[in-house]
C-alpha cells in the first residue's frame, strides 16, 4: 500500500521522474548557431548558360523528373542541343572531379531535354505590349526570344536562312546534332509565342530603320559565318576550301568530291567536324594543328571519337604553302612548330622551327582556324571593338534600344555562351523597357543575378519566382574543401553509349547516344548536391541535442534554438556545405 499520494507533498518518496529535460533551455549555452544556408554549386557558376544544374539534380534525386525538366527549361531553351554539343564546363567545375570523376551533367541534361515538352510551360507574367525584334535565329537569338517571350514580350525573330537555328542548323553535322532534335527545341521556343520569320535578310530585305522604328527593342545575333583566312601561299588554289562552307554544303545534302586524302587545318570543333565528316565521305583524313593535343580547343570527347573513326593527327605543324599540279592540289608544305611562352589566351604560343619543313600529300585541304564576324551585316552606326560589336554587360550596344549577343560580339564562341548571352540580353531588354516605362529597376543587379557572382545570369533570379525553396541563400560558391566527403561513396561515372566506330563512320547517324533514362537518373544520383540541403538528415541524426527536426512551414528542417548548444557538429558533418555557423541572431 504505502503512503497515499497526498502524503508526498512536494517531494515524492523516491526519485522518480515526472518531467522531461525539455524544461532546461540548454540553447542559452551557445555563442554560435547553425544556419541552414543554401549556397551556389560550382556547376551552376561554371555554366555559361546559367542553368540551375544543382536544382534539377536535386529534383531528379527525389524522382521529380518533370519538375527537373521544367527547372532546366526555365534557364535553357535548348537542353537537347546543349546536352549533345556543349563543351560542358559544368563538368570541369564539378566538385565530384576532386573525389572520383565529375558527374556526367551533359548526359543528364540531354535526357531531360529529350523528354516531351511540358504540358504547362513556364508560367508567363501578364503579356506586355512591347515588341522586340531579333535578328538571327542561332542560339543567342533564340535564347533571347525565348526568355523575352517568357517575360511577356511579343517577339519576332528574323532569319536570313531558310530555316532557323543558325550554326546549329548550318554547320553542326547531323551525327552530332540530328536536325530532328533541333526542330523539336525550336518548336518548344515557338510554343512560347515566338514568331520566327525566315528568308529575311535584315538590312537588305528589311531596312534597319524600319526594324528600329517598328520595334521597342532590337537584339542583334547574326553570328559569325566567315571562315578566317589562313594567309598562306596558294590558299586560293582549287582544293583548298573553307571548312565551314564544306560543312554547310554537306548539311544541305551535297556531297563534294574530296579525293582520297583530306587535310584539315585547325584544332577547334569545326576542324574536328570537318575531319569526321570527311571520313564519312570515304576520305582519309589528317588534322594538322600547330599546338599539341592539350591545347586543342575542340571538345576532347570529339577528338577521341574522331580518332576512333580513323582521323589522324599531326600536332605541332602548320601549313606554309599549298602545291598544285595542273590546277589540282597535290600537297601541303608544313613547318614544324614548337611551343613557346604562353600567349594572351594562356596557351603556349606556337613558334615555327624554320629548319624543319616537310610535305604532306593532299587532295583537299579544309581550313578551320576560326570564324569571323561579318560586321557589314549590322548597322554601321553601332560602335565596334576590334572585329566585334561592342556591348555592355546587359548586351546593350552604343545604339539606343539595340542590343547584341553571341558570335557578333567578343563573347566566347560556344553554343552555351551564345545561349547565355541571349538570356543576359533578354534581361537587359526587359530591364531597359521597364525602366523606360517608369518601373523601378535595381540599378546594378547583375552580380546578384549571376550564379556565384561571376557565372551567367539566372532568369529565375531575375523573375524572383524560384520554385525551389532555398534557405537563407547566399551567392558564394561551394568549394570541394567546404564539403564533407566522408559521406560520399565512390561511384563510377556512366559513359555515354556510342555507336561502334565502324558503324559511325559509315554514315551520319547520331554517334553519341547519351544515357538511358534510368542511366541518367542513376548518374544524377552521383551528384553531391553541393551547396544545398537535399534533406539527407545527417544533421538531424548527428545532432547530440535532438535540436534539429524535420521542418514545418516549408522548411526542410527546424532548429530548436532553445536547445541547440551550438556545437557545430551539424555544420561539420553536412556533406554539402549547406550549414553555416554564425553569431547572427543570437
Amino acid at each position: 500500500m504505502g503512503p497515499s499520494g497526498s502524503e508526498y507533498r512536494r517531494v515524492p518518496p523516491i526519485a522518480v521522474s515526472s518531467s522531461s529535460t525539455l524544461v532546461n533551455h540548454t540553447g542559452s549555452w551557445k555563442y554560435i548557431r547553425p544556419l541552414f544556408q543554401d549556397r551556389v554549386a560550382p556547376c551552376n557558376a561554371g555554366c555559361p548558360v546559367g542553368i540551375d544544374i544543382e536544382g534539377y539534380m536535386n529534383l531528379l534525386r527525389e524522382g521529380r523528373v518533370a519538375e527537373a525538366r521544367d527547372l532546366l527549361l526555365r534557364e535553357n531553351p535548348m537542353p537537347g542541343v546543349t546536352g549533345r554539343v556543349c563543351h560542358h564546363p559544368c563538368e570541369v567545375s564539378c566538385n565530384r572531379e576532386s573525389f572520383d570523376r565529375a558527374v556526367a551533367v551533359h548526359a543528364v541534361e540531354r535526357m531531360l531535354g529529350d523528354l516531351a515538352m511540358p504540358e504547362v510551360p513556364l508560367p508567363a507574367p501578364p503579356a506586355r505590349n512591347q515588341r522586340v525584334a531579333i535578328v538571327g535565329s542561332g542560339p543567342a537569338g533564340l535564347a533571347c526570344a525565348y526568355h523575352l517571350a517568357g517575360l511577356g514580350y511579343r517577339v519576332t525573330v528574323f532569319e536570313a536562312a531558310t530555316q532557323p537555328g543558325g550554326m546549329l542548323r548550318l554547320a553542326i553535322p547531323e551525327y552530332r546534332l540530328p536536325e530532328a532534335v533541333l526542330d523539336r527545341e525550336i518548336e518548344r521556343i515557338r510554343a512560347r509565342g515566338v514568331e520566327i520569320i525566315c528568308c529575311v535578310n535584315v538590312g537588305d530585305d528589311l531596312p534597319w530603320w524600319s526594324v528600329r522604328a517598328n520595334y521597342d527593342a532590337v537584339f542583334l545575333a547574326p553570328g559569325a559565318h566567315r571562315d578566317r583566312a589562313l594567309e598562306v601561299e596558294g590558299e586560293q588554289s582549287r582544293g583548298v576550301e573553307p571548312g565551314l562552307k564544306f560543312l554547310e554544303d554537306v548539311k544541305r545534302g551535297n556531297r563534294p568530291n574530296l579525293g582520297r586524302q583530306v587535310i584539315v587545318v585547325g584544332g577547334g570543333n569545326t576542324a574536328i567536324d570537318c575531319a569526321r565528316t570527311a571520313v564519312r565521305m570515304g576520305a582519309d583524313c589528317l588534322v594538322l594543328y600547330r599546338r599539341t593535343r592539350a591545347e586543342m580547343p575542340a571538345i576532347p570527347d570529339e577528338v577521341e571519337e574522331a580518332e576512333r573513326e580513323g582521323v589522324k593527327f599531326e600536332f605541332l605543324a602548320a601549313p606554309v604553302a599549298f602545291e598544285s599540279k595542273r590546277g589540282r592540289l597535290k600537297a601541303v608544305e608544313c613547318v614544324r612548330m614548337r611551343l613557346g611562352p604562353p600567349d594572351a589566351s594562356g596557351r603556349r604560343r606556337p613558334i615555327p622551327v624554320d629548319s624543319d619543313h616537310f610535305t604532306l600529300p593532299a587532295d583537299t585541304v579544309l581550313t578551320a582556324v576560326g570564324e569571323v564576324t561579318d560586321l557589314a551585316a549590322v548597322p554601321q552606326d553601332l560602335e565596334r571593338q576590334d572585329s566585334a560589336l561592342r556591348v555592355g554587360a546587359w548586351g546593350e550596344t552604343s545604339g539606343v534600344r539595340v542590343f547584341a549577343g553571341g558570335d557578333v560580339t567578343d563573347e566566347t564562341r560556344s553554343v552555351a555562351h551564345a545561349l547565355g548571352a541571349g538570356k543576359r540580353a533578354a534581361i537587359g531588354i526587359d530591364r531597359y523597357l521597364r525602366q523606360a516605362a517608369g518601373e523601378p529597376v535595381e540599378p546594378d543587379g547583375l552580380a546578384r543575378l549571376r550564379y556565384g557572382g561571376s557565372g551567367n545570369v539566372s532568369i529565375t533570379r531575375w523573375r524572383g519566382d524560384d520554385p525551389i525553396q532555398r534557405a537563407s541563400p547566399t551567392n558564394d560558391v561551394v568549394r570541394f574543401e567546404d564539403l564533407n566527403p566522408s559521406h560520399f561513396q565512390r561511384a563510377a561515372r556512366r559513359d555515354d553509349r556510342r555507336l561502334h566506330s565502324e558503324t559511325a563512320r559509315s554514315g551520319f547517324t547520331e554517334v553519341n547516344l547519351g544515357l538511358t533514362r534510368d542511366g541518367a537518373l542513376e548518374e544524377a544520383r552521383r551528384c553531391f548536391n553541393c551547396a544545398v540541403c537535399n534533406g539527407c538528415e545527417l544533421c538531424l541524426i548527428f545532432c547530440p541535442d535532438v535540436a534539429i527536426a524535420r521542418g514545418t512551414d516549408g522548411n526542410r528542417f527546424d532548429i530548436a534554438l532553445d536547445y541547440c548548444k551550438g556545437c557545430g557538429v551539424c555544420a561539420a558533418e553536412c556533406p554539402r556545405g549547406g550549414i553555416t555557423m554564425t553569431r547572427a541572431g543570437l
Binding site: A15, S17, S20, T21, H487, V569, M581
Partner: protein
C-alpha cells in the same frame, strides 16, 4: 547509391529529448539516440554511474522516453539481469533490457558483474559507450584509456602507460551470441548492429566509441570526425563476433596512419614522433591480430562448409 541517404534508414521515432545537459558536441547522447531508435519504445534502460547519469537529467527530469533505472556503478549487468528476470516472470519477453554504461562501468568496476551476466548468457543488451576515461568525474584514466594519453591522473609528464583493455575479446571469450564494435560516426552500421542484436536472445554486447571533446581535447564540432578517423586509422576497427568465434569486419577500407588521429587531440599533444611510432606499432599489432581472427573465422567457415558437403 553514391551518397549515404541515411534519412531512409533511421527510424523516425525520437526516444530522447532535448535539454539534456551533456557538453556541446558530446558523442554519448548521439550514441544513445541511435541505439534507442533501433530498439524502439519497448526498451528498459539500466544505467550505472557514468556521464549519462547526468545527461539523463536530474530528478524530476528524464531525457529518455523509455523507463530508466539509475543503478550503482558496478551493477549494470547484474541489475539488468534482475529486470530481465522480472519481465520474464511477467511474460514480457519482447522488451529489450538495455544496459547503458560508460567505459569505467564496463572495463573497470562493472567488469565482474558483466562477466557474470555474460557467463549466464543473460538475455540483455549491454552497450558500453566508451569515451576512454572517467569523464564525468573530471577525466581520470580508466583501463579503456589508450597508451600515451594524458588524463587528470596520468598527466602529460607521465601519461597512461598501459594499453587499452581489449574488452571485445574478453566478452567474446564468454562466447556470448553477439558482440560488436560501433561508433557514432557510422550510424547505419550502428543501427544495423543494434537491430541485429535486438533480434538475438542472450547476452549481446556493443562497444561504441564515443569521442569526448573536453576529455580528448578537440573542437566540439569534430566529434564525428574523430570517431571516423579512429576507424580509418585502425585504432577502433568495426567488427562483430558471434558466439565468440565468428569474427567479421563490418567496414572495409584502406587503413590510414594513426598520426593525424592523434594530432587532432590535445590529450596526445605531448607525444613525440617516436611515441607516435610506438602507438602505430601497437595499432598495427592489434589490427593484425584482429585480421587473423577474422581470417581464421573465414577459413573455419570454409572448412565446416566443406565437411558439411
Amino acid at each position: 547509391m553514391s551518397q549515404l541517404m541515411i534519412a531512409d534508414r533511421v527510424p523516425r521515432e525520437e526516444l530522447m529529448t532535448s535539454g539534456h545537459v551533456a557538453c556541446p558536441g558530446c558523442a554519448a547522447p548521439i550514441a544513445m539516440r541511435m541505439v534507442l531508435k533501433a530498439l524502439g519504445p519497448k526498451t528498459i534502460v539500466v544505467m550505472p554511474a557514468s556521464c549519462w547519469s547526468i545527461i539523463a537529467g536530474p530528478w524530476p527530469q528524464s531525457s529518455l522516453k523509455v523507463p530508466l533505472y539509475h543503478a550503482a556503478f558496478e551493477t549494470g549487468a547484474a541489475t539488468a539481469s534482475g529486470v530481465r528476470a522480472a519481465l520474464d516472470m511477467q511474460g514480457d519477453t519482447e522488451t529489450t533490457v538495455l544496459v547503458w554504461a560508460g567505459d569505467g562501468g564496463t572495463f573497470d568496476i562493472g567488469l565482474q558483474a558483466l562477466s557474470g551476466a555474460a557467463e549466464r548468457n543473460e538475455n540483455i543488451l549491454y552497450c558500453c559507450y566508451d569515451n576512454e576515461a572517467y569523464m564525468n568525474t573530471g577525466i581520470q584514466r580508466s583501463s579503456a584509456t589508450p597508451w600515451g594519453a594524458a588524463t587528470s591522473t596520468t598527466p602529460a609528464v607521465q601519461p597512461q602507460s598501459t594499453h587499452k583493455k581489449d574488452i571485445l575479446a574478453i566478452l567474446a571469450a564468454h562466447r556470448i551470441p553477439y558482440a560488436a564494435t560501433a561508433t557514432v560516426a557510422h550510424p547505419v552500421d550502428l543501427l544495423e548492429k543494434v537491430t541485429k542484436a535486438r533480434a538475438i536472445r542472450g547476452t549481446r554486447f556493443l562497444h561504441i566509441l564515443a569521442p569526448c571533446p573536453p576529455g580528448w581535447k578537440f573542437e566540439d564540432d569534430e566529434t564525428i570526425e574523430l570517431a571516423r578517423m579512429a576507424v580509418r586509422a585502425g585504432v577502433f576497427p568495426l567488427v562483430e563476433v558471434e558466439h565468440g568465434e565468428h569474427w567479421r569486419f563490418t567496414a572495409e577500407g584502406a587503413r590510414e596512419p594513426v598520426g593525424p588521429y592523434l594530432r587532432k587531440q590535445g590529450r596526445f599533444r605531448h607525444l613525440g614522433e617516436e611515441q607516435v611510432r610506438q602507438i602505430q606499432a601497437e595499432v598495427d599489432r592489434r589490427w593484425n591480430a584482429m585480421r587473423r581472427r577474422v581470417e581464421s573465422s573465414e577459413s573455419d567457415e570454409d572448412g565446416s562448409l566443406a565437411e558439411g558437403g
